[in-house]
Symmetry: C2
Subunit: 333 residues, 2 copies
């Protein structure tokens, strides 16, 4: 038999469709007798009834579904953001649908077509640039992750204290004695990375003899390795510490150092950012800045629920943490 509807259940239980809807929707107190409710529930289970979600959301005008827009699935920061968002969502009978930025997928880059369902709101990383224009035009409640908090377009912002993270990383290296830095900056035009650059510059400005160069690097190990190798062999004094915008870039920098015969951390210190699983998979394990990824996801979902509820979400930035491992040491004498 085809999938049973509430009408089928009603018929089998000898009641009206409305009664089924009331019972299964838990709105039957004082409207349906306990005995009838039992019978309806039993019949529904027996027939394997599952409500038609399309019909339900058509009726209710809501889907209790959020879209989570991320730049890439392989970047496990976002996998963790998803986990956090999904945890909060499920406790509020909400769903989360992922929209990974569609590199190489094909022509249909429409996040909404991809979601295949109506949406109640969107949570988006500022790194998923191409998807954002479509999203902004859809006047859905939008929560931005790590984007410029002064931008008034989104309904809410969730920010991590990235500036503090970059400051901590830099001061860690300054304290170790480093003065000549190379900043491998992610070649992505996103606020996340602009903040890092600014915080780095500000922190170094307090130490008169500190110098820094900057080189762009892609967010992929081998491409970052090439960029790092190029930057490290450029003319002029060689930096003693490399500050990377992301652990992926740092992993590339490590590979570059090894190819140049530099020992880490003895000859060259390297810091990452994000504390991905990659950070402890490579050798040496990376000194990095740990971001509360799951917490970001939780906050994002909470913020969206608050907005949908007419409340004002929290907006204080989440704290970060310096994790010192084996990729940093005092500079060579």
């Amino acid at each position: 038999m085809a999938r049973p509807t509430s009408k089928d259940v009603a018929h089998a239980a000898g009641v009206s469709q409305a009664a089924v809807s009331l019972v299964l929707g838990d709105k039957w107190r004082g409207r349906v007798s306990e005995r009838t409710a039992q019978r309806v529930r039993a019949t529904a289970r027996e027939l394997g009834y599952r409500p038609n979600l399309a019909a339900r959301s058509l009726r209710l005008g809501t889907t209790r579904t959020a879209l989570l827009v991320v730049p890439a699935l392989t970047h496990d920061f976002f996998a963790r953001v998803y986990t956090g968002a999904a945890r909060i969502a499920t406790t509020h009978d909400f769903g989360v649908v992922l929209y990974p930025s569609p590199e190489g997928i094909g022509p249909a880059k429409d996040p909404f077509a991809s979601a295949r369902t109506a949406l109640d709101g969107v949570i988006a990383s500022s790194m998923a640039a191409e998807a954002l224009t479509a999203i902004r035009g859809a006047d859905l409640p939008l929560v931005m992750l790590d984007s410029d908090p002064t931008d008034p377009t989104p309904a809410a912002h969730v920010n991590v204290d990235l500036a503090d993270g970059m400051r901590q990383a830099t001061e860690h290296l300054l304290t170790l004695g480093h003065r000549h830095f190379l900043h491998l900056a992610a070649d992505v035009d996103s606020w996340t990375f602009h903040v890092r650059a600014r915080a780095l510059a500000e922190t170094l400005s307090t130490t008169p003899d500190a110098t820094a160069r900057t080189a762009p690097a892609p967010l992929a190990v081998h491409e970052a390795r090439a960029a790092a190798e190029h930057a490290l062999t450029a003319p002029g004094p060689r930096p003693t510490a490399v500050i990377c915008d992301d652990d992926i870039i740092a992993a590339g920098a490590c590979k570059a150092a090894r190819r140049l015969g530099l020992h880490i951390p003895h000859d060259l210190s390297i810091t990452g950012f994000d504390d991905l699983t990659l950070a402890t998979a490579v050798d040496p394990e990376l000194t990095t800045i740990r971001l509360p990824a799951e917490h970001v996801g939780e906050r994002g979902m909470e913020a969206l629920l608050a907005v949908l509820d007419g409340r004002t979400p929290a907006h204080d930035p989440l704290p970060v943490e310096l994790v010192v491992r084996d990729s940093t040491a005092p500079p060579p004498p």
Copy 2:
């Protein structure tokens, strides 16, 4: 204004709702004049009309949406499977919704509740064990990835020639001269890994003096490192080659070797499986078996579309490839 409906468009364009539906659904040949069609399309664009997907799928009884069930998002094999599946899907006006196995997400482990939309079919990895029981009970078209092809429950299977992969890895090491092996087997009860174990045993059985031990290892770098360290320090002759069920385990094995003061590949050879991005992010880069991940996704989606279409999908296994890098060498003398 609230989101416009087809009725709003119809009113604004001075036609009936049916005409709007015909024009926008591209079914207007000989039913609506070219001029009216133009006007309707212009009005729809002007109002920013987007069809209500809930209403559409209620009417049509289909959602053109597949659920892709994967064990974990961080495992980039599945990120690539998704990419392939999504590519095929978009060219057929289909959507793909991801359901990552819900470790740590919370109580609601129902894949269908999570999808928040009706589904036309499911593509599932055999590794997502907990989700599978729910899926099998839902009598939706099911395509299994890397599961036992003799299992008649799924409507279709997509298989990679894993046995051949394991055979190639093993023969590579045999050719290099290795005779004492350690097999770090993923501690997941899935066909994917059973096949590897069987193929390894069969391949070794052709070489009389080859010996192998097996130790289980979790699919996470540090846990695998611990397992590898334990297995490598066990009493008895030390193996000269470690065959891992997955690159993640191999990365852990590399870490273990380093802690034991063993140089790779000089003192110990290690092979991975899958050719994840991790395989070339670690040092030394891993000799591994490359699986056609995107192709698996494409095949999976094609198979599902075929099943929905009443056709019989292809079922020959996809070929794999040995990639020799820096983690394997002849055994020490």
